[in-house]
């Protein structure tokens, strides 16, 4: 009896000890390291700040609710100041020195292209969180933002139907602008429309008197404005002052650059855009999300789509890791290949497309009124990022590590 009791005590003690040591082992598990590169200095700071905030908010929320696979997240943010060389330096630093488990960030396409060769030589997943000109077929990269087939093949037909077949394009003279203009030409051709003028503007140009006159000479029905950066945004103010008064469409205005908050009305009057996110969405999930954001960052002028996508990126990473039960890129890609790498985001459900590793989005067409009020004109529902898959990019079979455009398609094999 005595000895039996003793035995029981010992057994109980051993059991307790094991449990204790297990929980100690659990708590000591190192945090997951998330490397983040966002410009919060320099020209692009006004777009980079919301991206940093979105990541910080997501990390805080995930950590509060128990982390990923029980591990906390440690966010390591470096500020490349808009310099591509710094992107490379810091990309290497995060990957080789801090040995992060996932890399997120980059604003311009150039910064993404600076990072890709470095990421491709590791087995670390990389999330790019901007809407962009599309076409990157790379197994290491997961794109969270909207792409042209989601934005232009909705916007342009609508604009043609509503305003007419003649369009004038003003675009920033670099890859994003040129490839977007290429998309416009392709879609307009299919619609039987006419591009009455195309003007490419060097980055940093801020004076548009000549452009405004060229537009008036060409007499378009509407304008496609894919000008980029703070300097080029001056176009809207100058066009309004010259009483240009044309309907405008864009893939980057309003939800991304929040020009309707930065300019005095009615400079952005009659602007149209297709967006997966804009702060004026008023579904219950979106309202809840906005409330959490503004509680943490009360000074935020506008929650733009980049910041929102950056927030989603961490939840997508969490979903992938938890489904794969692993932080290895190859295991996560197996989850993506099944096609149910999905999360319930504030816009609705979004999933990663297995072939291109880009994200499906619920797209809405919005318009800006004379007092800069935003109205939803049409809800397209969920649109898949189908284009890369159609032209022959299939990351489940082959890793191309290339960027395609309508003029630069994969070689037929």
């Amino acid at each position: 009896m005595n000895s039996g009791r003793k035995l029981r005590m010992v057994l109980l003690g051993a059991l307790l000890g094991t449990v204790a040591s297990m929980s100690v082992g659990r708590a000591a598990e190192p945090p997951l390291k998330v490397g983040l590169l966002e410009d919060v200095s320099g020209d692009l700071a006004f777009m980079g700040m919301p991206k940093l905030h979105g990541s910080q908010l997501a990390v805080e929320e995930i950590n509060k609710s128990g982390g990923i696979l029980g591990r906390q997240i440690e966010l390591i943010h470096l500020d490349p100041q808009g310099d591509n060389a710094r992107y490379q330096e810091f990309g290497r630093r995060l990957l080789n020195r801090d040995k992060v488990d996932v890399l997120i960030g980059g604003i311009t396409s150039a910064s993404r292209e600076a990072l890709r060769p470095i990421v491709d030589r590791t087995t670390t997943p990389y999330f790019y969180t901007n809407q962009y000109e599309g076409g990157v077929c790379d197994a290491s990269m997961i794109s969270m933002g909207a792409v042209p087939e989601q934005q232009f093949s909705t916007l342009i037909p609508w604009m043609v139907e509503k305003f007419g077949k003649k369009v004038y394009v003003i675009a920033a003279d670099y890859n994003f602008g040129q490839i977007s203009a290429e998309w416009n030409r392709k879609i307009m051709k299919d619609l039987g429309g006419e591009v009455v003028g195309e003007e490419f503007i060097p980055l940093g140009v801020s004076q548009f008197a000549q452009t405004i006159q060229n537009i008036q000479k060409a007499k378009p029905d509407w304008l496609l404005t894919i000008n980029v950066g703070a300097a080029q945004d001056s176009f809207f103010e100058q066009a309004a002052a010259a009483n240009l008064n044309l309907p405008m469409g864009s893939s980057i205005k309003v939800m991304l650059g929040f020009e309707h908050k930065r300019f005095k009305p009615p400079a952005l009057n009659n602007m149209h855009a297709t967006a997966n996110w804009f702060e004026e969405i008023d579904t219950p999930e979106a309202t809840e999300f906005k409330k959490r954001w503004h509680a943490k960052f009360p000074d935020e002028l506008y929650i733009n789509d980049m910041g929102y996508n950056a927030y989603n990126a961490l939840y997508m990473y969490k979903a992938l890791v938890e489904k794969a039960k692993s932080i290895k890129l190859e295991d996560m890609r197996k989850v993506i290949a099944t096609g149910d790498a999905c999360i319930d985001a504030p816009e609705g459900k979004v999933c990663i497309d297995p072939k291109s590793q880009h994200t499906s989005h619920r797209m809405r067409l919005i318009s800006v009124g004379p007092k800069h009020e935003v109205k939803v004109e049409k809800d397209y529902g969920t649109i898949q990022p189908y284009w890369l898959g159609e032209i022959g990019c299939d990351l489940t079979k082959k890793n191309d590590k290339d960027q395609y455009t309508p003029n630069h398609l994969p070689k037929k094999s």
Partner: protein
């Protein structure tokens, strides 16, 4: 037809105003004292931000613009006293000092004011000729550019201060020996220069996006204009602006902005090759 003629004039006036307004301040600072003011763009930014701030407080635009120019001028005098004063004997080092200053100012503005400021909108008013509509405010800018040139001419050619300033510019030691207070002349001239930069920012503030790095869009054009104007800035800057504006406008109109930008820079290279001392050297020679 008359619409086309007017539109050519309008485009020329627009580029000309941009070049003159952005270069006038630099011309004084660089031409008078040989200081390479890399913070020129930041004085422009200062003018723009002060204007917007005052307008948001309810001050009428025109008054806000004048106050902004004055503010930039006073800050300029302060900067001259604290920093620039030490560099008259070694102007190339002023490049490093003012560049450091410009880094500090832009980033501090970002930290203090935030990354984006809401614009104030261009004053109402447009008019139509033929099929074109034009903004009235752009013509106001042209008027201001001409007024700035006239004002500089009067200050430096017709006043006592101007005579002493030009004497100091020619030979500082001699002027000092003759009793001119060169230190004060330099401070005032620097203040006028930065005040003009502030004026440029104030005038363009309603038409542009305001970000802390906005000054950078003015800098290349202003340096180029001043340098091809040559050593005698009072004589050289205006013809340089006329010349560059014509090239830029013609190329912009026929080949688009990118060729306009490249073409202007190529023109600069060629002009300096032909006239290594700048445009004013020819004008001065003619004058003699």
């Amino acid at each position: 037809m008359s619409a086309e003629v007017f539109s050519v004039f309008y485009q020329f006036a627009d580029v000309f105003a941009f070049l003159i307004l952005s270069a006038a301040g630099l011309a004084i600072v660089f031409g008078m004292m040989g200081v390479i003011n890399m913070a020129h763009g930041e004085f422009i930014m200062c003018g723009a931000y002060v204007t917007v701030g005052l307008v948001n407080l309810g001050v009428p635009l025109a008054i806000a613009q004048i106050l902004a120019a004055v503010t930039a001028g006073l800050i300029g005098v302060l900067v001259e006293f604290l920093v620039v004063r030490r560099f008259y004997k070694r102007p190339l080092d002023s490049l490093l000092a003012t560049w450091g200053l410009s880094l500090i100012v832009t980033q501090s503005m970002l930290l203090i004011v935030g990354s984006a400021v809401r614009g104030i909108g261009t004053p109402e008013g447009s008019f139509a000729i033929g099929g074109y509509t034009f903004s009235t405010y752009r013509l106001v800018l042209f008027g201001c550019a001409v007024a700035v040139l006239a004002g500089l001419y009067i200050i430096f050619m017709k006043t006592r201060f101007g005579v002493i300033a030009r004497a100091t510019m020619q030979n500082a030691a001699m002027a000092k020996a003759l009793g001119a207070r060169t230190g004060r002349i330099y401070a005032i001239s620097f203040g006028i220069g930065t005040g003009l930069a502030g004026l440029c920012g104030a005038l363009y503030a309603p038409t542009m996006t305001l970000i802390p790095t906005m000054g950078a869009t003015f800098v290349v054009e202003s340096f180029v204009t001043v340098v091809i104007g040559g050593a005698n800035v009072l004589l050289g800057t205006a013809p340089a602006a006329v010349f560059l504006a014509m090239i830029r406008m013609a190329l912009n109109a026929s080949y688009g902005q990118i060729i306009g930008q490249i073409g202007m820079l190529v023109a600069v290279i060629l002009i300096i090759r032909v006239l290594p001392e700048g445009l004013s050297s020819v004008l001065v020679r003619r004058g003699r």
